[in-house]
């Protein structure tokens, strides 16, 4: 093969996102020798992603737009700057199959740096995903795998789900009723008593009919005691070479089920005790995920999300057809052909633009443990309420085992209010779980993060929360 880099150099990537992920995408582009164009909105003018683009982007490197949510802005900027590809980052358009379709179907076609729109659509539909999984023998949450429209049928299934849980020895069985056309946690209710089922079912059905114009509901077991695991997958445009980059455990979350601390790999049976064979479970979910990825011809980075019960039963939850915030923890423990410094975002861009993967599963090894802290201006003690104000000082001590991704500049910074409140990601590596926890705490202790709000009160953040949680990592 000739030098693949020359093929990439003709490309220009539109960075269709903001904050730290925009920076990481731009860094990956620089690494690959690919030009980029970044965008920003007036609220973000202080963000480091803007100054970074100004510094490294050259001509056509940066444009101010009205919104990150307006696809027309992205397309217009891409056209005027001559972009050949669009990287959506995470959030915004990352899992919007219509956006991906528009990128590739419009008159001036570009490459969407993510899976093909058909895969996004297929795996973005929870019923589709569940049915695909079942058709391949991949375990899913017990319950229906198609929308139920008939009240009698719904009640029968609910009864069965209750009985099933009692058979499994679950003391307080719960049933979930979800609007099948819903998403984002809307139209979901819980029932712990079959006698209440009908009234709740009708409520959800009516809500679904009103909100989604579809009366169908799903009826499932509500799993309560579990760990949240993920399998990192990547495939190239051939749709045939899929490899995994191991597992992650993302069980430490806020009360609103937002991730706060992620660890790779998913379990550590050498230190912690589990009620099940942890390696076997990790292996199983990895293989299940790969099976599905192969079935759909997965051709980009993606994450298979799993829940694993205390008994070690895994259920597939959903597939995230995008690069994830926590991709760095997996990259941190991965070695490709013995080399460290894996960058999954660069891999996504490189393969997305058409380069073959260039290695197989045999070439990938894992070394040590890594965790990621999400540093956020919020009050964990008060229901994780976001804090609004100005950051005056944000400093940390550099270490060879530490990398920090942030859009927060060194100068005082007003936290924009219209986006997620993530300030920074800190990725820490250790050769074993003990060293990892130790280093993690070192980082947090050395960290300086101060600010004030309009009322002059000091900044609230989640450092204490993260410190408190660090000793708990990978414990079920």
């Amino acid at each position: 093969m000739e030098n693949p880099r020359t093929e990439l150099s003709g490309h220009r990537v539109l960075v269709g996102n903001r904050g730290e992920i925009a920076i990481r995408i731009m860094q990956a582009c620089l690494k690959l020798g690919v030009a980029f164009t970044a965008i920003y909105t007036p609220e973000d003018k202080e963000s480091t992603h803007v100054s970074f683009a100004r510094e490294h982007g050259g001509e056509h490197g940066l444009y101010m737009v009205s919104s990150y949510h307006d696809a027309n802005e992205l397309m217009a900027v891409a056209d005027v700057s001559g972009c050949t590809a669009v990287h959506p980052g995470y959030g915004f358009f990352a899992e919007d199959f219509r956006f991906a379709r528009r990128v590739v179907k419009r008159d001036r076609k570009m490459i969407f740096l993510g899976p093909s729109w058909k895969i996004i659509r297929e795996l973005g539909d929870k019923i589709n995903t569940k049915r695909l999984a079942r058709s391949l023998g991949v375990p899913t949450v017990p319950g229906s795998d198609r929308p139920i429209y008939d009240e009698m049928e719904a009640e029968n299934i609910a009864e069965d789900v209750f009985d099933f849980q009692l058979q499994q020895g679950i003391d307080h069985p719960l049933v979930l009723i979800k609007a099948s056309a819903g998403g984002g946690g809307m139209g979901i209710e819980e029932v712990d008593d079959i006698d209440q089922f009908r009234s709740v079912y009708r409520r959800v059905r009516n809500y679904a009919a009103r909100q989604f114009k579809d009366e169908g509901v799903l009826i499932e077991q509500r799993v309560t005691d579990f760990n949240h695991l993920e399998v990192q997958i990547i495939g190239d445009r051939s749709g045939k070479n899929q490899v995994h980059f191991g597992t992650r455990n993302c069980s430490i979350q806020s009360t609103g089920r937002q991730k706060r601390l992620e660890v790779a790999p998913g379990f550590d049976p050498s230190v912690n005790e589990y009620n099940f064979d942890a390696n076997k479970v990790l292996d199983a979910i990895t293989q299940y995920s790969l099976t599905m990825a192969r079935e759909v011809g997965y051709d980009s980075v993606g994450t298979w999300e799993w829940i694993v019960t205390r008994q070690g039963a895994p259920f597939l939850m959903e597939v995230n057809t995008r690069i994830q915030v926590e991709n760095g923890v997996s990259a941190s423990i991965a070695r490709v052909k013995g080399q460290a410094g894996v960058d999954l975002i660069a891999e996504q861009i490189r393969t997305g633009l058409g380069e073959p993967l260039g290695y197989t599963q045999q070439d990938i090894e894992f070394e040590g443990f890594a965790l990621e802290y999400r540093l956020i201006a919020e009050a964990p003690e008060n229901n994780f309420t976001p804090w609004v104000g100005t950051i005056d000082r944000f400093r940390w001590k550099e270490h060879p085992w530490l990398s920090v991704h942030t859009q927060v500049p060194k100068s005082p910074y007003n936290i924009p209010t219209e986006f997620d409140p993530n300030l920074a990601l800190a990725i820490v590596w250790g050769k074993d779980l003990g060293e990892l926890k130790e280093r993690g705490l070192v980082f947090l202790k050395e960290l300086e993060l101060q600010g004030h709000n309009a009322a002059g009160e000091p900044m609230k953040n989640n450092i204490a929360f993260l410190m408190e949680k660090t000793p708990q990592i990978l414990k079920f």
Partner: protein
């Protein structure tokens, strides 16, 4: 007590407001036939159903969008260097010198006269559904609020929080925010007038109506 005459005099010193018309998003600009010194008008008609003078057309993704003058005034500057160029969001296109209307003057003076309830942080604000329904169904200036009443929903960082009113009991006399826009910390949200002071406010309005000449 408010000295209306002084305030009015002060405003009369400079009865203008400069309006910068900016692009609402990216696109290619084509100016309408407007020149410096030309008079333009804002939306007209009983329901503002007729749009203002067209200043330019902004084309993005083959979708031409007319840009209209938001208020009556005189064109001060046309940024004609952008003609036929692709511009970023919020690029200035035209500045308009706008003579304050009676209503605007009223508002300026009322801001001095009313109790202003201000935004505690930068966020989007909405009235609670009950208040919103009341505002829609009753006459302006007749919804009474009390200290400690849940009045707003504050929305930022994808989280919504209730916001309680603090201040004197009275009617909501003026609203200074739009639900779709972000409000800066400390910017006023509403102007409240205690019921017993309503006659004074009416007087303020009378004074402005008689003393302010619109051209």
């Amino acid at each position: 007590m408010l000295n209306i005459s002084d305030l009015l005099e002060q405003i009369k010193q400079n009865p203008y407001r400069e309006i910068v018309v900016r692009t609402p998003h990216t696109g290619v600009v084509n100016f309408a036939d407007i020149k410096q010194g030309q008079a333009v008008h804002g939306p007209e008609g009983q329901w503002k159903e007729r749009s203002g003078t067209r200043l330019a057309t902004l084309t993005r993704e083959r979708n031409p969008k007319p840009i209209y003058a938001p208020e009556k005034g005189v064109v001060d500057k046309v940024y004609s260097e952008y003609e036929n160029a692709f511009v970023e969001n919020a690029t200035p296109l035209v500045t308009i010198r706008h003579h304050l209307t009676r209503e605007e003057v009223e508002n300026i003076i009322l801001r001095e006269a009313l109790h202003l309830f201000r935004a505690p942080e930068r966020a989007k604000y909405y009235f609670t559904p009950e208040i919103d329904a009341k505002m829609k169904s009753s006459d302006p200036g007749s919804v009474v609020i009390r200290d400690g009443q849940e009045l707003f929903i504050m929305s930022r960082m994808k989280r919504e929080l209730p916001l309680y009113y603090s201040g004197p009991e009275g009617v909501i006399y003026a609203i200074y925010f739009k639900p779709s826009d972000n409000v800066d910390a400390d910017a006023p949200l509403i102007g409240v007038c205690p019921q017993e002071e309503l006659p004074n406010i009416k007087e303020v309005i009378m004074r402005v109506q008689t003393e302010w000449q619109e051209n």
